[in-house]
Structures are given as structure tokens and as C-alpha cells.
Assembly symmetry: C2
Homo-oligomer: 438 residues x 2
């Protein structure tokens, strides 16, 4: 089948069948389709959309373009969590060790940050020596040894997705639900899971800003997970403000370590709360506890006993990281940075936060990347200390920014101050978990 | 402006402005846009279409991506003809010398054949030694010396179009009117013309099979020509059967030489008739004669006096071709080929001809190419001898095919026999010129 025939069919709004989708993904994997043919078809898929059958066929073909992990010797259910990404969204670093401490095996394959959203791999790399490029063998060994591993997408896992995602990023074809579903689910299904919990963010700091689209994405992913016999649930959670306190790679690792050690600040609260909610769901789905009440007992014990944090320390050691940051997390905060407070210009209630603006500002002062090849500065970032609903007086501190260059500080203070809207009337704090899709 | 922003705008159905279209075409020309970004935008343009303003902006940007020919010393009006392509459509080889003999300068830039349609350059290359890759300088010198030149698109002429066309061909994005208009018109306007006559084919052997689409294309091209101050007319002509007698590169050159020498067969009639109609229009548009009656007198004299053919011979010599084929055109017919007749299976009238099928068959026996890199066999082809409306008896000859391999002959005879529908009732011969768009 010539690429042109398949492209023309989708171009004209047709529905691609199994043979056509397999030919496409095989062509991507073996290089017989040129990049410019791939992007032409992807744009036709973007505009003319894909139905559920096509979406599932692409997911399956991308999944089988690479290796599927198997854990035949594991006594533990295999489970994972995936988030669609947001600002300050750092729960993976708590969830993986916590789930492991509760008896699950978690082979977590994560991504890097792009644009305003952070990425788990970038965060982990702020721990000196931490290796996020594990081979499949090393990944399995690490899971066996400490209950979880955190790695980037290897060449063996869904290679077709990796290539297609990079091309979508360069051609403005990322934000389309069927391809998002196929990209996320092909990688997650390649982990050989028994249970999967998805965290679909919604609000002005999320990839999907509208709840309708977040809900549609969540539904499609749950349907797809079930079609592949993986027990799947999706949370729709608030991203109308940064999650927890810190935004920035090393600062977010600091937050997670403090929380796991039981030394978290009030500002960090929602990071821990959401981690618990998601792990509780994983526990029940994986059949480790019969209901959420007993699941919460289990995870609270794993936290308070220090077992979850022990798993984290073991993992840092196994993946080559410097465990001294676990003993002394303050080392993750770079004292030489220019630190500036953001203050309220008037009295009232924080009524709205430009979460995208905060994410972009941290990215622009070096904490993120606008192109995949950009280098990041792991230490810069923002401490967000006044969530929606907070009552403030003029001059009260809303947060503080950590910059490498004084010139960045001017810019950042202006942008971050503008990110907070302060109104006269009392505003309710938004719920953290908005919906759970089964 | 990042490519992604421009792509996203068209993806969402927006209208691109001048700065955006210029950025795109500059990016194509200087290589800063990757091929996969170009094809993503092209697919979005295909599906979401372009309005007249965008179409004209792309035409202009592609035109100015390269050199524009100028003929400051020419005493002759600069004119050209362009055809959208068909089966057996060989009129360029007659029109260029005939127009030159009537006092025009014709800098004809042509293309190669693809799929079922032939290409002027391939036909000319069946004359041993004939060089179709002229530099701009050589092209101008040739026009100055004999009144016309025939060449492929040089690197200097509309380079953006050249790159985009090759990518469109590989990504099923050729058949969209705005990009066809921009591609044809940017090249033709680069010839620095005073007058342009377009031959838009319609019917089952044309690129546009439906007359409505052919008419739309013709209208858009005429509007575009006028917007760039070139007097432009478009003919809509019949392509529901091969034009004239032969289909195949050397065979078509043979037909043109025979016609210019006044030795043509009856089967060749419509090739000559259409060439005359188009040249007559060029003569009037270029202001060489006031009306078609006097234009016809002029061109008939140029033919019967042998002056048109002399121009052709001069051109072959100037472009490095072997002029012996002009004296002895029979040398273009390869006697060693397997020659088989196609015959009528029943008595009646030829009511329909699968022109696309004939074009594809000639292509498949080696006379054309399915990929741009395929080599062609210049000698193979088909002699079409029973047009629509011809009365036949069972066993009457409909045509004959010239194959390199006996195995091809079996296949070709079957396909070509099936291309003719013979019905019981009398059928009118279709008009040659269906409409003229001013």
C-alpha cells in the first residue's frame, strides 16, 4: 500500500482500517514512510479526526511497534499513574515510592517538560547522578529491587510513538484527543500493567483548559484501557492554580522529599493530598485493599512509618543518584540565586491565578524549555504561597521567585505579580478532585 | 514567526496574511522550514482550502522566490501556452514553433509526465541529444535565436514551487485548485509574459475529470493572470479520449513532425486543430492580429510555407538535438518493438473511451512513470485510431500498441481492448473546445 493512498483516504474524511493503520505505523517504525508523509497524514487526522476504532488501532499498532514489559516473577500487581501535565505537578515522585511501599510494582515511564509544563525526568535529573535512561533490563531490575523505577521512553518502548510525538510537536498537531490518547496509552500499555490511574488536569495551567475536553480525554483513555484489559480510572483534577508550593525542577524534588519525611509546609498540602487520592485508587484497582477507607489506612501507615521514603532513597541509590539530598534536601535550594518576593498590590481575595503565565515565566527564566533541545537550569523556580481564595492585605507575600540572573528577576517579578488577580469578594478554593471517571 | 504558529492558524481554518505566507515561502526557499512542516501546512491548506487572497499571495511569493525572466531587447511580444495535461496531449511541440513563426517569443517552461499524463520534457528527450535543462542564459539565447525555447524548471525559476510540488506529489496533496493555480501561475508569470493561453483539460483522461472543477480552475487562473497584469485566456478542452493519434513519447514527437510537415494522418487531426485554436488566441492576445480570422490566415501561412517547421528544426539544433529525426521522422518508430492491434469485439459505435486506462497502460508498459525517479522507455506507446462516434464492425482495428516485451503485450492488449465501449446507438463526436474563459 503506497503512503499516498492512505493519506488521500484520511484527507477526504475516510475511516482507516486495520491494514492501513498497521501499514502507517510499520512505515514509521521501519523508516519507509518519510517524515513529510507522516506529518501530512497526522494533519489530516487532526482536522478530519479519528473515531474510536481508528484511535484503538493506532494505540495498538504503536504499542506493538516496540517491546512490552513483562514481570512474570513479580508477586506484586503492576500499576502506574499518568498525568496529562501541569504547573507544579510533582505527584509522580511521591506516588511511585508510596505505591511501591503499599505492595505494587510501578514501572513508571515518564516524559520531559515542554512549554509551560514540567516533566518528571527533568525533576529527577536535578538529583546529581540520577539516571533516567534505563534499559528495559535495568528498569525491570530496579522495579524488582525497590518496587519502582522511573525512566524515559527507551528505544524499545513504543518507538513509533516517540517519532510521531516529536513530529507532532514540530507541526502544531499535538492538541488532538485521539492522538493524545494513542500516545499516552501506547506507552502505558507497554508497561504490562494490571491497573492504571490517570490524572487529567483541567484549567488554565493544563494542556486541556476546558473541562469538557478534559472529560472527553479522560473517557477515551478509560475506554481504551479497558479495551486492552487494563483496569483504568481517570481523575479530573484542578489545574487553575499551581499544584502545591514549588514550580521548578530541584524545588519540586525538595517539596516531595519534605512531604515524604513528614516535614511539608501548609503550602505543599495539595501535592500530598492528590498523591494520596491517586495511590488510594491504585491500591483498590490493584486489589490490595477492598475499599478506599482501608486503602487510606495502608498508605498513611506507609508514609508515617517512613517506608515510602525508604523506597525513594533506595531508588535514588539504584538509579545512580546522590542520596545525600534525601538526608539534606535543603541542598537542593541554591542559595546563590537571586530571590525576590511577589506581593499583593491591594487587599482582597486571590480570585484568579494565571497558571499558564506562572509556568511560562518559570520556563523563560531557565526552568523549562521551548524547544526539545533547550537546556534547563534545574535550580531556578517559584514558590507559590497564596492559592485561590486566600485573603490578603496590600503588601502581603504571594510567593517568591528564584532566578539565576538579576535581569531575569525584574521580568519575573512583573509577570508573576500580574499572574494574581485580587478581587474584593470572597472566593471559594476550587476542589482538588473534580470528577472520577470509571 | 515560528512555523508552528502559522501551521496552527491554517489547521484551525484561519486565513493566512501576507507576512505569514511570505514567512512560509521564505522558509521553504531558504530551508529553515523542515519538509515535514511544509507538508503539515500543505495538508491543512488542502483540507481547509485557501481563498483568492491567500492563493494570490502564495503565487506571488513563489514567483518571487526565484528569478523572473526579462527580454528587454525583444521586438516580439512574449507569450506562452500551458496545458493542465492529458493523454496524447502534445500540442506544445507544435504551438511553440508555430507561435514563434507568427512573431512571438515563447520561453516555454514545461514539466515531466507523471502517472497517466505525459510531459513535454520527456517527449523532447526522445530526440537524441535534446537538452531540456537550459540555464536561464541559454534559455534566453535560444529564444532570441529561433523564437522559442523549451526547458524544465531551472533552479532559478520559482524554486519554492519546485520543492513544494515534489512534496505534494509524495503526500497526496496535488489535486487542490488553489495550489494548482499557484504552482502553474508562479512558473508562467516567471516567464515575464505579455500574454498567456491556458488549456484546461476536462474528462476522464484529465487531472480534473469534472467540468465544474475544470471551469473553476480555469476561472481562478485567468483571474490570477489578470491580477498580475498578464493578458490571460483559458480554454476548456475535451479529454474524454486521447488527443490525436499517438500516446507515447517518441510517437508523439513523430506525430508533431508529420503534422508540421503537412504529412499528418486523419487520426492526428485534433492535435493540429487544437494547436491552431490555441495559437490563434495567442496571436490575438499578443496584439499581432486584430481578430481570429486574420490570426488563422497568419498561422496557416506559417504552417504551409514550412516556416513553423523550420523554427522547430532550428530549435532542435540549438538545444543539441539530432536534427536527422526532422528529415526522417520514421526513425522515431522502433521497428523492433512488439506491435499488436486492438480490435472491436462487436459492431456498433465507439461510445466511451477509458482515457485514464489508456494513459495508465502506456505508463505501465514503460512509457511513463509512477514515481518521479522511474526511468521511461521513450519508444513504447499506443496508436489510437477510433475516436468516440466512430462506427465499427466486429474485428475492425481500434488502434495498435508498441511494446518492448511480449509479456507486456498480453497485458496491454487486454487493458486497451477493455478501454473501448462499443454501443448500439450513434454517438456524437465530443466538441474539442468546450468553453473559452476570458
Amino acid at each position: 500500500m503506497r503512503p499516498q493512498e492512505i493519506i488521500a483516504k484520511k484527507r477526504d474524511g475516510g475511516h482507516l482500517n486495520e491494514a492501513e493503520i498497521d501499514a502507517f505505523i510499520e512505515g514509521v517504525t521501519d523508516g519507509s514512510w518519510a517524515d513529510y508523509q507522516i506529518t501530512a497524514l497526522i494533519m489530516a487526522m487532526f482536522i478530519n479526526e479519528l473515531d474510536f476504532a481508528e484511535q484503538s488501532l493506532i494505540t495498538r499498532a504503536m504499542l506493538y511497534s516496540g517491546e512490552i514489559l513483562e514481570f512474570p516473577e513479580s508477586d506484586h500487581p503492576i500499576a502506574d499513574k499518568h498525568s496529562t501535565g501541569g504547573v507544579g505537578d510533582k505527584t509522580s515522585l511521591i506516588i511511585a515510592p508510596l505505591a511501591a511501599a503499599c505492595g505494587m510494582a510501578v514501572p513508571m515511564i515518564s516524559g520531559r517538560g515542554l512549554a509551560h509544563t514540567g516533566g518528571t525526568l527533568d525533576k529527577l535529573e536535578s538529583i546529581p547522578g540520577y539516571d533516567v535512561s534505563l534499559s528495559v533490563g535495568k528498569l525491570k531490575d530496579t522495579v524488582a529491587a525497590c518496587g519502582f523505577a522511573m525512566s524515559g521512553q527507551t528505544k524499545q518502548i513504543a518507538p513509533a510513538d516517540k517519532k510521531i510525538y516529536a513530529l507532532r510537536d514540530a507541526t502544531a498537531t499535538v492538541p488532538t484527543i485521539p492522538l493524545i490518547v494513542a500516545s499516552i496509552m501506547s506507552k502505558k500499555l507497554a508497561e504490562g500493567l494490571d491497573a492504571l490511574v490517570l490524572d487529567v488536569k483541567t484549567g488554565n495551567g493544563a494542556t486541556m483548559t476546558e473541562i469538557d475536553r478534559s472529560r472527553r480525554l479522560a473517557n477515551e483513555m478509560v475506554k481504551t484501557g479497558k479495551a486492552f484489559n487494563v483496569d483504568t480510572r481517570a481523575f479530573i483534577t484542578d489545574m487553575s492554580q499551581p499544584l502545591g508550593q514549588y514550580v521548578g525542577n530541584a524545588l519540586e524534588v525538595y517539596e516531595c522529599i519534605k512531604l515524604m519525611k513528614g516535614e511539608g509546609s501548609d503550602h505543599m498540602d495539595r501535592s500530598l493530598q492528590l498523591s494520596k487520592e491517586l495511590v488510594s485508587q491504585m491500591i483498590v484497582l490493584a486489589g490490595i485493599a477492598p475499599d478506599h477507607e482501608s486503602a487510606f489506612l495502608k498508605l498513611e501507615e506507609a508514609l508515617s512509618s517512613g517506608r515510602a521514603f525508604e523506597k525513594f532513597v533506595m531508588n535514588v541509590e539504584l538509579q545512580g543518584g546522590d542520596t545525600s539530598v534525601c538526608d539534606d534536601p535543603e541542598a537542593l535550594i541554591d542559595g546563590s540565586l537571586e530571590r525576590r518576593d511577589i506581593v499583593a498590590s491591594r487587599a482582597g481575595f486571590v480570585s484568579e491565578i494565571d497558571t499558564l503565565g506562572i509556568g511560562n515565566t518559570v520556563s523563560e527564566i531557565g526552568g523549562g524549555r521551548t524547544r526539545t533541545k533547550d537546556k534547563i537550569d534545574p535550580k531556578v523556580g517559584y514558590s507559590h504561597e497564596a492559592g485561590i481564595g486566600t485573603r490578603v492585605k496590600a503588601g502581603d507575600k504571594l510567593g517568591s521567585v528564584f532566578c539565576r540572573k538579576p535581569s531575569d528577576a525584574e521580568f519575573a517579578v512583573e509577570k508573576l505579580t500580574a499572574a494574581y488577580t485580587i478581587g474584593e469578594n470572597f472566593v471559594e478554593r476550587p476542589d482538588l478532585v473534580l470528577e472520577i471517571i470509571k
